[in-house]
Symmetry: C2
Subunit: 449 residues, 2 copies
Amino acid sequence: MNYYQENHAAFLEGLKAWLRIPSISTLSEHKPDIRRAAEFALNELRAAGLAGELIEGEGNPLVFAEWTGAPGAPTLLLYGHYDVQPPDPLDEWKSPPFEPEVRGNDIFGRGTSDDKGQTYILIKAVEGLLKTRGKLPVNVKFLIEGEEETGGEHIESYVGTKPARLKSDAAIICDTEMFAPELPTICIGLRGMVYAELHVEGANHDLHSGVYGGAAPNPMQAVAEIICALKDRDGHIQIPGFYDRVVPPSPKEREAWARLPFDERDYTEKEMGARELVGEPGIALLERLWARPTFEVHGIRGGFTGEGAKTVIPARAVAKISTRLVADQDPAEATEQLKKAVAQACPRGVTAELKVLHSAPPSLVNPDNRFIHAAADAMSEVFGKPTVYIRSGGSIPIVAAFEQSLGIPSVMMGFGLPDDNLHAPNEKLHLPNFYRGIEAVARYLDLLG
Amino acid sequence: MNYYQENHAAFLEGLKAWLRIPSISTLSEHKPDIRRAAEFALNELRAAGLAGELIEGEGNPLVFAEWTGAPGAPTLLLYGHYDVQPPDPLDEWKSPPFEPEVRGNDIFGRGTSDDKGQTYILIKAVEGLLKTRGKLPVNVKFLIEGEEETGGEHIESYVGTKPARLKSDAAIICDTEMFAPELPTICIGLRGMVYAELHVEGANHDLHSGVYGGAAPNPMQAVAEIICALKDRDGHIQIPGFYDRVVPPSPKEREAWARLPFDERDYTEKEMGARELVGEPGIALLERLWARPTFEVHGIRGGFTGEGAKTVIPARAVAKISTRLVADQDPAEATEQLKKAVAQACPRGVTAELKVLHSAPPSLVNPDNRFIHAAADAMSEVFGKPTVYIRSGGSIPIVAAFEQSLGIPSVMMGFGLPDDNLHAPNEKLHLPNFYRGIEAVARYLDLLG
């Protein structure tokens, strides 16, 4: 048994301690937890033998730590995030979201897979090499942020202003998933996004639907009308110009996707728990998920939604909406297109205003470089199968920032699984992936060194 | 000064005490307040000299009290309700909803106009006659309910099963409004309603909009699509057959409505606080409000509506919706039509179920009877102007029940004002109407006796 295999229990207890901190970045009352979670990561990195600090500024602290004792060897920028999504709806969790619980081969809790568990893989891989050899085969710089779930604006501006300090040859990101259990996977493409609130206002106070129904504008109805104008019943986005820059996948990539092991029925019924899949007709499922933009409504606030009956025409309604963007769409241009489409779809009697909360460009990495090749080899060795290349429908805004500000490619080694319930109740991480992930990252550093 | 004029301060203090009880019938945690509000009314009626009791059964208690010492004289059934609407949004109230406050000539608080204030008018009118003369010119039976805001099912079933106990010649209802300040008004028509929840379900758990967007059904989007299918952008309801039974107002009624004092700009900007009126093109405003059915969305529950960004495709969404019905629409038939239209509009990948919370038929009273004539005369006398006949867009389900189960007409003497903010923040009652209302009801009983 090597160091990594001997320390499974210690790794698990360490991860649990981190998971117990409810570092929810979208809710301001969790600011103290955000700090505790950042300090936890810093302490782990220092204990592993790295020199580090919290980088304070606007927003949540960044955790920076480095070991640069391998002159001449490549330098890797290791990225993860310590913030998590809100846990609601709380009553659907089988165990409390911030009291991690192992059931079978999985650990359940908010942040297990996204992204404390995966960030911990990077920390423990480095720790293992330093504890057993006293040195690393490469130089490493950790940069762990606390705003990934709210858009990651501050890390982007930090990366933009400190290229010298962060100078590296490649970034390693541990925040994606394996395409199937035990199938080593590298992700080379991500969707971008524009997340916004659609504010619709009618009368300046709530009105009685009996007394005023037939004359009063209803912002809740108006929100529905605007939403329906932006996407048709086939899932096709109706924002003028929105698809103009969309680059279709190459025939070679389409072919590789078609070869991936995939059971659509299992995906639909077991993983998603849905009756049937929807989306643009005539476009293959993986292409819809990885290479097509989306428009989604996340929730609509306003009026009365409590128990019983309240016959109110609400004064205002706010819809939380987002679009996912694919290469070569541009968030600024997409935002303008969206704003114009909202203005055009706004019905009489109300005003509609779009407030963008954050946005991120899509990214598509060319897999032909030694950092990605070595990662594929390391994963193949540890998992015993050839590594596949996929894209993800999710967004990791920092990938575009690393490319634009530091000029480096990102290697997305993911150890999550498709049924990890990211952003949903009962988020989990498969423990064999957690332990193998640590070994795979350590092996990767060796191959590069 | 007569008894009524001498007792303004006492009437006001009594009303305030009743208003302080947050008897919100749609929220089950207010059950104890419901009982306190019922007991308050009963105690007032007993103190006035009536014999009464709380009628217990399923639902909230009914307050029943009677004085039947005028053999040969007509018997009136006096109706009001002691329950109120929820006060949210709380932060828009200028004074707390359950701490009544007099500002200028108005008293502000939840229930001031709808309907504790108006029910109190009936109680104090009867009290005044009994205190000053020891007897009444007519027989009276009070029936005050506590579920008007949730559909009034239990009073309807009580009225249906106890026709002998409630036997009367006419019902007096004090729960409507005057068309304009100082313009005595009797309401002869009400809209009915069907209030329902539209439950839409997609996947069996919330999904990440990045990972699944493009394949996952979105119940929030589906709710928007169904809502838009049920009513078009012109406000015309698209439920097949929905308008088939709608009886247009007579030319005579339309003419009378056109003569009512009405400033559309004041109505739009001052009363409603809106930019412009909406609704079916080519149909006059009062007809849209009083003689046309509506479809309204009151709120949509589900997904994420908190601070910040959560990229979730919710597993389910629930819309609170209602339709208002006009003569001769039938709630049962309208419900069937609505259910069919929802099923037809339901998009792929989700299920939609309509759960009706309550319904009430529309009512239209023939004004040619002595009970309505005497009411018009009494109001003209006290207010010094001819009484006008209007309809209301609101619903008072008990009116149909009184007609169907007891065979009696309802006289709707209303003392609210159009800007009373019913069901909204800063509900108020104009105090001169409150005091004159008490005198007008007392004068009415005299005219009938």
